[in-house]
């Protein structure tokens, strides 16, 4: 039984590519702090606080239920027109979604009900500089003033379980605590203090039973406090125990409870304002550690939200490296840069792969995060890249302990640095790519600066290189068993071989920067790995048809380079057969090959690159997971490498 439970925990912890139960996030908004994810119907399905890797504050609804008319789960608008209610998420509506402009973090979703000739355009996103999300709608086609309501199924939580990343989506039943309405201020609150016990639950039930004054709710400890305000005037505020009860009450104009304990659903009904032949309304959602900080964020958001439709969509200033790109690459590079920026925690420097709660992807896998750091470095965001690299070096294990070899690092991390994968999972690609990226970020710096950096980090470099050097199968020298997330089990894969080879090559170069201090055993191991990588590259039938990524070409034989180049080009010419992750890896690989040997490895044609970028955009939008930092960082790096000539 314990074994089975352990197996379950591991399966969940490793889950990366399984189909999610809830509709996938298709658009993400944020700047490395509060982060919102919307599904293709404009429903707020993920709200992560305090950063893109923080716990999700929304309850995850099952796919079938969420797709039904009058659906539950997430945060969404409902509009009454002509005596009927129309809900965001309604499968009968036709939907269009995109960003308000190429460099904008504002997500625009248009819902149309052709039979009712009703069109609702929503602009939604996290307000830059505020811990608040705003959703503003513009309704056209309604004959008379419609009623509008916004409902949300919040699951506030601060929990973060080390090694087991199921804190939010899979544990929704344990999340949430209480909700209450502040009718005087026209706001509703849903919150959960940190680790509430029997006393807190009893007290909250007492407050609800006694219809306590607002002030009584402020005495709970810090945690996650979510507030909702809307455009004035507010007609109704509702707190209920279930989503259907909530929507039923709003539709019939009942007020229901003033407060509720347990699963709490909140709703707010603003009076829409007539403007330009249509009607407008907005809501703002803030998240804070307590009522005071949440209310402050909500006050600020309410001021900014009023102009959300009228003001030009927030457009980021593009970094020079992107702004100077060929116009053919610009839209794609801009979009991937916006994604990467949203998924990179501005405070801790770690980058989550995706904001989805199910499967649990809001984690940093150093093997992917290292490439994200390199992408930030290449587009000129040097401080952010340095912060990432320092964070990864801080996670290299400096003590040899059972099941945690010296020089290894956790397979995945929460954005605050806590391990997010079981401690006994060994991942050699993470530390290998961290070393390789460290070298990439150092190689063009002045010699003295390079040497100083290496000497400062030598302990970590040495431990990692020793780990990569000794974690080998004594029979034939391949890297010893370590995790392969594709098969959810340890396996000897080519991708691991290429990564470890790249890591050892980088370790030798880093040693050279500090005066050739790398021991001879590293050189022997590097030569062994290089020979094995060559053998794999030259024998095409052994090539994994998945997304193996070759980063290091230095020292490979002519035959190996030619084979790698031909195979990469051949596969890129048929992008329709591959997924976005495999295509991103191949594109990056072709750029690196050309960078290494421009005379022997020609670039893919412009037409091929455009077709691949289109294909990535299409498969990303239709994929089971949303905007993906792994794809975005590799595509960005590829575009920057390909345009260099």
């Amino acid at each position: 039984m314990i074994g089975a439970a352990l197996a379950l925990a591991i399966s969940i912890a490793l889950a990366q590519d399984e189909a999610p139960a809830a509709p996938p996030v298709t658009a993400v908004s944020g700047r490395g702090a509060l982060t919102a994810g919307l599904d293709s119907n404009g429903v707020l399905s993920v709200l992560r606080f305090p950063g893109p890797g923080g716990p999700d504050q929304m309850r995850q609804a099952g796919g079938g239920e969420a797709a039904a008319p009058g659906a539950v789960g997430g945060g969404r608008w409902g509009i009454e027109s002509g005596g009927r209610w129309y809900w965001f998420g309604d499968p009968r509506a036709s939907t269009r979604q995109g960003y308000a402009s190429p460099g904008s973090g504002v997500i625009e979703t248009t819902m149309e009900w052709p039979d009712a000739r009703l069109t609702v355009r929503q602009r939604a996103g996290v307000l830059p500089g505020h811990e608040a999300f705003v959703s503003a709608i513009e309704i056209s086609g309604a004959g008379s003033a419609p009623r509008v309501i916004w409902v949300a199924d919040f699951a506030p939580v601060t929990r973060q379980i080390p090694e087991l990343p199921i804190r939010d989506g899979a544990l929704d039943a344990l999340n949430g605590f209480a909700a209450f309405a502040n009718r005087a201020a026209g706001r509703v609150w849903s919150f959960r203090p940190q680790n509430p016990g029997k006393a807190e639950w009893t007290r909250a039930r007492g407050l609800v039973a006694g219809d306590a004054a607002l002030e009584a709710w402020t005495d709970f400890a810090d945690g996650a406090w979510i507030g909702v305000a809307s455009s004035a005037p507010v007609i109704n505020l509702v707190v209920a125990s279930t989503p259907r009860e909530l929507m039923g009450a709003l539709e019939s104009r009942a007020t229901l409870l003033s407060a509720s304990v347990g699963p709490s659903n909140v709703g707010i009904e603003p009076a829409p304002v007539a403007q330009g032949g249509g009607y407008r309304a907005w809501i703002a959602v803030s998240v804070g550690a307590n009522l005071v900080s949440g209310a402050k964020a909500l006050d600020d958001a309410a001021i900014a939200a009023g102009g959300f439709f009228d003001a030009a969509p927030e457009t980021a200033v593009l970094p020079a490296e992107i702004a100077s790109l060929d116009p053919k690459f610009l839209p794609s590079a801009t979009r991937h840069w916006i994604t990467l920026r949203a998924l990179h925690d501005a405070q801790t420097g770690l980058t989550v792969r995706d904001v989805s709660a199910v499967p649990p992807l809001a984690r940093d896998w150093p093997r992917e995060g290292a490439l994200a750091a390199w992408a930030l470095f290449e587009i000129g965001e040097r401080d952010a890249a340095e912060r990432s690299l320092e964070a990864y070096f801080g996670k290299i294990r400096s003590v040899d302990r059972p099941r945690r070899p010296l020089g290894s690092m956790p397979e995945s991390l929460y954005t605050d640095g806590d391990p997010a994968s079981p401690h006994f999972i060994v991942d050699d690609r993470g530390p290998a790519r961290v070393l390789w990226v460290a070298d990439r970020m150092l190689r063009d710096r002045p010699e003295a600066e390079r040497t100083a950096w290496v000497r400062k980090h030598w302990k970590g470099i040495e431990a990692t290189a020793e780990f990569l050097s000794t974690w080998s199968d004594a029979r034939y020298g391949a890297p010893l068993y370590a995790v392969d997330p594709v098969g959810l089990a340890d396996a000897e894969t080519q991708d691991r071989l290429f990564a470890v080879h790249a890591g050892m090559a980088a370790a030798l170069r880093l040693g050279d920067y500090a005066g050739g201090i790398a021991p001879e055993t590293w050189r022997v191991r590097h030569a062994q790995l290089r020979d094995m990588a060559e053998r794999v590259l030259i024998t095409p039938e052994k090539w994994i048809a998945g997304d193996a990524l070759v980063l290091e070409f230095e020292g490979l034989s002519e035959d190996a380079l030619v084979q790698a180049h031909e195979l990469t080009l051949r596969r890129l010419e048929n992008p329709i057969a591959l997924g976005d992750r495999a295509l991103a890896s191949l594109l990056l690989e072709s750029g690196l090959l050309h960078e290494h040997a421009p005379d022997r490895a020609a670039l893919p044609s412009l037409g091929t690159i455009e077709a691949v970028l289109d294909r990535i955009a299409t498969t990303s939008a239709a994929g089971s997971i949303g905007p993906d930092a792994r794809v975005s960082s590799q595509v960005l790096l590829a575009i920057l490498a390909l345009r260099r000539p």
Binding site: I2, G3, A4, A5, L6, A7, L8, A9, I10, S11, I12, A13, L14, V157, R159, I161, P162, E163, L164, L171, L174, N195, P196, G197, K198, W201, P402, R403, P422, H423, F424, I425, V426, D473, R475, Y481, A482, V483, L488, A489, D490, A491, E492
Partner: protein
């Protein structure tokens, strides 16, 4: 003289009081038409998931309180019996003892459960009827549809019985469609899931708690020999088990598991793990031993250290290492390691013609193989040993961890420390728990119970 007069006056009053008391008692007994009833009957739910019954509940209660195991548990966790007593006093307003229970409710107790609720059925004796009527008449209890609520417990009369349930709905169900059952009588408790498990409870001559578990529906082969060899594990396990003529897999089979959240995910994970095992791993062994040596819970995800040993008198299906397995050798025995997920979840295997050993920690496999020939001859069909103290320590650790990570609904660490850990401490003080099993009829009967620490092995040998 005056004093003598006073003495006579007091003596007369005393006699009057004594006669009045005797008269009232006679009246009470006379009114109590059930006082002499010895049919051992009470009500159970007609649609029930489990039943717990005792023909002499007060006697059993008294026996438990006087048992050595209870004394050990009460010494280690005195707050547990005190808390039970306080709860009963607060709920009913009475300080309950076995004698008082007998006077109010008689000896028979039936508890049946369904849909997460439970309801007890006891005789409505005179004192109980009078007390209940008084409480209702004075408005001390809130009564609706004939069901009264007292401190979260729901009580109703049903003819000669009192029904006491965890919800008004379950009490109503028993009242309207209960079945009348007779207890087997005598000291002890029986637990019946109406499926395959029947457990009887008793106190043995050594004053230790004993259980008899009849586990039906276990498919087994008739052992070819009366005696067989059981390996001696290199160190004392937290939990160990041995069976012969039956595969562990059929006992651990997931279709025997009760419903719980995430069951399908656990089944899928088990099936994924089983796919890593060599084909034919569970076929044909005469005896199978399992041992759980340790649960390292120093990190959030506990790491289990366990081993399985199986042996057969006839040649077994040859096990072959799966692709990716790494060859190993222990004490001259060739085997292999199948990687799965790092050193917390991998499988070490030694398989030859007549025996197989599986372990998930390399050090444990080395120790087991070093002592592979050490063991003893036994004729038990099954045996289970539990080191309650170590198991309780592991469970306490996991409970605290679950509370710390907010995985325990509406309980934090302080709550678990106060409400859960004392119970586990009491369980840990039970000592060593051992059962010996014999095939009888359609199933296996396991007999055993608590033993003073370090005595179980000697007692059962």
């Amino acid at each position: 003289m005056g004093l003598a007069w006073l003495d006579r006056k007091h003596a007369r009053r005393g006699w009057i009081a004594l006669f009045a008391g005797a008269g009232l008692l006679a009246l009470a007994i006379g009114l109590d038409f059930d006082y002499f009833a010895r049919d051992g009957q009470a009500l159970v739910l007609s649609e029930r998931e489990w039943t717990l019954s005792s023909g002499d509940f007060p006697g059993t209660w008294s026996s438990i309180e006087q048992s050595a195991a209870f004394a050990r548990a009460a010494e280690k966790a005195p707050e547990v019996p005190a808390r039970i007593e306080a709860w009963m006093r607060q709920t009913t307003g009475l300080r309950w003892t076995p004698l008082r229970w007998n006077l109010w409710f008689g000896p028979v107790l039936f508890v049946s459960g369904a849909d997460g609720a439970a309801v007890a059925s006891v005789r409505a004796k005179f004192l109980a009827r009078a007390g209940f009527a008084l409480a209702r008449a004075t408005g001390l209890v809130d009564t609706r549809d004939g069901i009264s609520q007292v401190s979260g417990v729901h009580i109703a009369r049903a003819g000669r019985f009192f029904l006491i349930g965890t919800s008004a709905e379950i009490v109503s169900r028993l009242r309207s469609s209960g079945e009348r059952w007779s207890s087997l009588g005598g000291t002890g408790i029986m637990y019946d899931t109406r499926a395959e498990l029947v457990r009887a409870f008793n106190i043995n001559a050594d004053n230790e708690i004993q259980l008899s578990i009849v586990w039906g529906g276990i498919e087994h082969r008739t052992p070819a020999r009366a005696e067989y060899f059981a390996i001696e594990w290199p160190e004392a396990p937290i939990l160990s088990a041995v069976t012969r003529g039956v595969d562990f897999h059929s006992i651990a089979s997931t279709d025997r598991w009760p419903e719980f959240p995430g069951r399908s995910e656990v089944e899928r994970a088990w099936s994924d793990f089983e796919a890593l095992l060599p084909e034919g791993w569970r076929a044909g062994a005469d005896t199978t031993q399992f041992a759980l040596f340790d649960v390292d819970s120093s990190e959030t995800i506990p790491v289990v250290d366990a081993a399985v040993f199986s042996r057969s008198e006839s040649p077994l299906l040859e096990l072959k290492p799966p692709a990716g397995a790494i060859p190993y050798e222990w004490s001259g025995n060739a085997g292999w390691m199948t990687p799965w997920l790092g050193e917390g979840a991998q499988l070490f295997v030694v398989a030859n013609e007549r025996s197989r050993v599986f372990a998930n920690q390399e050090a444990t496999m080395a120790k087991v193989m070093a002592r592979e020939r050490a063991g003893r001859i036994t004729s038990d069909d099954a045996r289970i040993d539990i080191d309650a103290a170590r198991l309780a320590a592991v469970l306490s650790d996991l409970a605290r961890k679950a509370a710390r990570e907010e995985l325990w609904p509406e309980r934090n660490e302080a709550d678990v420390e106060r409400d859960v850990v004392p119970w586990l401490n009491a369980f840990g003080a039970l000592g060593e728990i051992a059962f010996v099993g014999k095939y009888e009829g359609e199933g296996i009967t396991l007999r055993g119970g608590t033993h003073a620490p370090a005595k179980a092995a000697e007692d059962l040998r």
